[in-house]
């Protein structure tokens, strides 16, 4: 089981080193800008492509839109990715896996919710087996609406993410977008993570579930896997 480090602030030793260097404020600022530029222009994607949006995600990586133009390539393992693109409906069965894969990604990392299913659950949001938006499980940086969004919109979302990365790492606050019309239209029975109407109990249970990661393996399988090295479970979700 991977260590859950999601609560700990991440600090790279490099920053420590630079902060301790005397009289190098100017230099560190410039270096920081450079590092920021590097991160911004090399966002490697881990596709959490579950359904329809996954096809449009593939189309965005293919010839016509070609996300490689902005230095974005697709990696199959969460260990080498920066952005998790959640493309498609996330079900109750899948959500713990998404959370685990998110935990396996190295900091700094971002999440893009692509399509209305990943944003709010869309018309499946009241269904027994669908979770109402991926932001009830992991933090989301950019929302790309659409059912599914066109590849161009995904590209636009990635560009927006670049801007956000630049602002955030420069120490600026990125205010969340306020869209009252949309908020009126979308009235999920379960409030979003920041919503005051959201029952506290739900968030509590979700957090608890996510922490303990109660993956529901069949009993015989668990048995078959335990005598092996304890790390078996570690990467399985990742692959």
């Amino acid at each position: 089981m991977a260590v859950d480090e999601s609560d700990l602030p991440f600090e790279h030793p490099l920053y420590d080193l630079m902060a301790k260097m005397p009289g190098l404020d100017l230099a560190t600022t410039s270096v920081d800008k450079l590092l920021n530029w590097g991160v911004r222009n090399s966002l490697w994607i881990f596709p959490m492509a579950t359904s329809c949006c996954g096809i449009e995600f593939m189309a965005a990586a293919a010839s016509r839109v070609d996300m490689d133009r902005m230095g974005t390539i697709v990696r199959g393992t969460p260990r080498q990715s920066d952005v998790m693109v959640v493309a498609g409906t996330i079900t109750v069965k899948m959500a713990p896996r998404v959370k685990r894969l998110w935990d396996q990604m190295p900091e700094p990392k971002w999440c893009v919710a692509m399509g209305s299913c990943a944003i709010s659950g869309d018309f499946y949001r009241d269904i027994y087996s669908v979770i109402p938006g991926i932001d009830t499980v992991i933090p989301v940086d950019v929302y790309i609406p659409g059912c599914p969004p066109n590849p161009e919109e995904l590209m636009g979302g990635m560009l927006a993410l670049q801007e956000k990365v630049a602002l955030k790492r420069a120490g600026l606050r990125v205010p969340p977008e306020v869209r009252p019309e949309t908020a009126k239209m979308i009235k999920p029975r379960v409030g979003r993570a920041e919503d005051p109407t959201r029952e506290k109990l739900i968030g509590h249970h979700q957090a608890l579930q996510a922490r303990t990661l109660d993956l529901t393996e069949p009993a015989d399988l668990v048995e078959a896997m335990t005598p092996k090295a304890a790390a078996d479970g570690d990467q399985e979700g990742g692959a």
């Binding site: 069965k93 979770i131 529901t216």
Partner: protein, 165 residues
Amino acid sequence: MTTAERESAFVELLRARFGLAEDAEPPPEGFLLAAEHHFELARTLKQQHGYVQYVSVVASHWPEVPAKGKVEGDPEHYEVATLLRTVGPGSHVARWRVRIEMDGALDSLVPLFAGADWQEREQFDLVGVRFADHPDLRRLMMPEEWVGHPLRKDYAIETGHLPWR
């Protein structure tokens, strides 16, 4: 044989061996047979009449409240429709329904058709129908520890299942 000829042959077979009333017109819901004929009919169709392709199984839940078109006070029960198909030109789907009680079980078709395995598991998972002699009757769609069968009529669409809802 054309599809229409196969259809009439199928009705003849039902009348001759599987307890369909002689004068019964094909109802719009499909033929309702007794549960004990279920496996035998499938075997006969597969081995003697060329219905070699397994199509599907559809279970539905009928609660006690008088649903439309049902007799008042009809007890709660399941209905299971089974579909088999002939291949080649003039393909025909043999379709019959079987009614079983809430605590009853229907004979599984897995010994005849390997494809029945997952389909019957799915219907068990979603509707709750039990299949006797199924080699591996587990949930297919929902997680193993899920409570309830979602496609039953008494299962509200937004039934909460903590922690996610």
